[in-house]
Symmetry: D2
Subunit: 304 residues, 4 copies
Amino acid sequence: MDYKRIITHVFNEITSGENLGQVSAYIPELAEKSPDKFGVYLTSLNHLEIGMGDHQEKFSIQSIAKVFSLTMAYKMLGEKIWERLGVEPSGTAFNSLVQLETDKGIPRNPFINAGALVICDILISQLKNPKAEFLAFVREITGNKKLSYSEKIAASEKATGYRNVALCNFIKSFGNIENAPEVVTDFYFHLCSIEMTCEELSKAFLYLANGGKTFDGNNPVITTSQAKRINAIMQTCGFYDESGEFTFKVGLPGKSGIGGGIIAIHPGKYSIGVWSPCLNAKGNSYRGMKFLEQFTTETRLSIF
Amino acid sequence: MDYKRIITHVFNEITSGENLGQVSAYIPELAEKSPDKFGVYLTSLNHLEIGMGDHQEKFSIQSIAKVFSLTMAYKMLGEKIWERLGVEPSGTAFNSLVQLETDKGIPRNPFINAGALVICDILISQLKNPKAEFLAFVREITGNKKLSYSEKIAASEKATGYRNVALCNFIKSFGNIENAPEVVTDFYFHLCSIEMTCEELSKAFLYLANGGKTFDGNNPVITTSQAKRINAIMQTCGFYDESGEFTFKVGLPGKSGIGGGIIAIHPGKYSIGVWSPCLNAKGNSYRGMKFLEQFTTETRLSIF
Amino acid sequence: MDYKRIITHVFNEITSGENLGQVSAYIPELAEKSPDKFGVYLTSLNHLEIGMGDHQEKFSIQSIAKVFSLTMAYKMLGEKIWERLGVEPSGTAFNSLVQLETDKGIPRNPFINAGALVICDILISQLKNPKAEFLAFVREITGNKKLSYSEKIAASEKATGYRNVALCNFIKSFGNIENAPEVVTDFYFHLCSIEMTCEELSKAFLYLANGGKTFDGNNPVITTSQAKRINAIMQTCGFYDESGEFTFKVGLPGKSGIGGGIIAIHPGKYSIGVWSPCLNAKGNSYRGMKFLEQFTTETRLSIF
Amino acid sequence: MDYKRIITHVFNEITSGENLGQVSAYIPELAEKSPDKFGVYLTSLNHLEIGMGDHQEKFSIQSIAKVFSLTMAYKMLGEKIWERLGVEPSGTAFNSLVQLETDKGIPRNPFINAGALVICDILISQLKNPKAEFLAFVREITGNKKLSYSEKIAASEKATGYRNVALCNFIKSFGNIENAPEVVTDFYFHLCSIEMTCEELSKAFLYLANGGKTFDGNNPVITTSQAKRINAIMQTCGFYDESGEFTFKVGLPGKSGIGGGIIAIHPGKYSIGVWSPCLNAKGNSYRGMKFLEQFTTETRLSIF
């Protein structure tokens, strides 16, 4: 498979095509990114690395970080975490409160905001210094000591994140948050603030292509079964109420963030990070989705 | 991979374990099946065939037939069908009317009842003799000339299927059903009435493991891309509001029916039919789900 | 109170003002009415009768007839009817199916379509010739032997009433409809087809201003307690999801129909019928609502 | 009308009958009240005052205070307040978040918690010392200088009021709260903490029976039209999703609180305060509801 030729071809085609949607105005730090930014980076298990465009520029990974927090909680507590949240697609938007009322405070899955908040709560109960220890964990699995929170972004999110505060208090009212809501949302806002490049993203997530082990192979992050299951959840729930569409068109497990980043995994083969800040109506990167769709079409390889 | 040994081992283990849930009382013909029935049949692309238990006994495939009707409509009209329904998991039960109200009569996916009714409507508009031609299509892809509707089951469903009549009229009120509701539901009740054995089921669905081509390889049912996409929809929507759970635990695209049957596909490898009539609370076969979970665990092979 | 002066003044003011909204296009017979039609008729318990504008012209009373069917069922079965439906405002549109799913087929009140269908079902189970006996009942309480169904309107409703067929089958699927859905909807479409003038409407409903007795006083239609309770239900549920607004602005129990008619009752004082075909976004007569608001403002009399 | 005889008779009958339901465990201060407490107090416009049972004992009026805050905001801003909330019954529980999502942060009415929070926000924006000035207002209309917040109850509510914090932040996320959520909920928790006796309650609300003027007649609290409209809103929305039931059975505008208090108004006649701590499944006083139903039945007087 000549990945390099295909990536180059698809990248150029997407770049020359239209760039629809809107850069997120959720917080100022996201809004100021140029809509024309576009980067791609693929890392394969057989040591191929291919980067295109703005693949060296940092961006806010936002909800993509929810995969890291799930990984850490899953590693620490195993299947026990599913007593407090589910693995079902929600059929609703990422920040919906509706289902929580019917479901008595049990979030549908770890990738909607409600579920990510419960995962944060689990980690806070387990860790002495949650923010520091979580960052250390992400640095370790990415092999990148320089990764850090953006305090500026975290502060911005805190200043405007009323919906997430509402979600956290709502879940707390059902008894499914153990810690103080302020502490949980503070941790949540921090983990969403991590900044990475496409290259870093692609390398960080290789453990999900590699049966739970980091790329060098010496470092099992989680068990193979756990890695498969995280991939499975990404497949059904990684793109909010566009998860079916992504599965249908791209055919790979993946996760998006409103900073415009997407990570997609081909288990046993590669991990690919894409970034373009313009979002479609569902909050997923317009060019990122399009690139991955065309890429798996041209490689004729998906998990299906 | 010694499939035979694993299937035998898992089958015996499940058989000796408990058998929870309830045989569906939806119609008398389903209710009369013994809860102890249990059959498995695997057909692989490399000509392996393994059957266990009641794999030669006919049962009502019910909603599994929705994959055949989707296949036929998709083959005839291509991507145009998605103007009338989506590919998103619904997050709700199989016969829910709630989302249709919000979504203005556009069903979330072809595997909830609402979506299957729209697919029926599409086929009725396309075919001269819908029931006869659909049956011919299913006979062709299964290579089984003896398959037939059960008029008795179809009549039973008609006599009690008020919810489906409601769904069909509701969608019609939004303008997304072209034909008379009685005609659409009559076709729908017939397609759900088809009876097959685990062996027939397994062989019938091999085209989805085989890139859209029937097993003998001479007969392309649908394109490879279409086969991948149907697998993708089964992955996210095949088990109603337990789709995430099935993806999480089994890790294969699949589809269940309230007759207790499940078909699961490993693209590029095999197709496996399972049947046991006791259903869990979500309406999926208790032993069928358990068998497939343990089977993919022991083979250590899933698409993730 | 100089009702005549106030009615004349308000009528002229409304007539010279704007006439917003749309004539219902639900069925052709409604759509063909001139948007400029406007009639008012008040009948008081102290023998006052005041008519203005098109008060002698027949129009389709539509959902206003639901008060007659409730009255007849309540008279026959008493409080027992509340085992099958509630008296709560729904907070949703008149033809919503959503709440029925949560409420297991028990309609919130007798004035949303779902509840009116259950009332029809109750009457069908009680009566030998439901359509004939119901018409006789309405003729009796109105003292008007010429009232009749419009077979043309009933046929039109049948031809397009998929939403009502959906509702009826949906409720049947929960077991809260005893008779065949076709029979229930046929009765329902007929009762909605009755045509009356403002004058007839005003006189017909005097029993609800008069403690349950018809105007001549010799004929108790229902008990005083039942009359009060029907008024109470009209107050909270008579205008679908605009019931609160009507109560707030007009302050009288009332019921509207999509033909543009409204009946309002001042218990102990009068009954007033208003008709103007242009409907606001909630499906209630634009000028009818406005007239009644200004009328109770200028009379300084409401039940509050 | 011999109110005294009827009240005595009904009071004794209810007292000797069963006392179902549960004392609210929402906060410790409510939970510690004896379930057997039962008081009634009626004050009529023609200077009748009748008290029975525990009518001199203070209890937490809770949501009944929402009528005072609505009155104050309505007095200050007039019809403008309806730009930020509606007057429709919600059809859902008092603390539901579901509708807010559909309605984009505009609460259905001022008596569900969401609406009461918006009213608090309006007052905070208008007043220099919201808590002090609101208390002064309540003292003035009740003619009772000793009324006060219970700091203990307010603190208890704050400690457990996650659902209200969620609601407030949720509305803020739609832009319909101007002030900081902590400030709004603090005010809200305080107003709910006011304690009154049945006698005080009955006298305090006489302005709603008296066309907006306090009992001595010299002091117009609000206009007659505003008083009628507040009565109208109490009629359709005063008892959450049991408002229709209360209207149906009692036939008077009223408002309940989870402390077990109920105030009911007969415009032009009287105001009656009832208190009994055991609540039915909808959160309204079991004996309070029963007493008022039987009372209006025996007086044969309701607004309908």
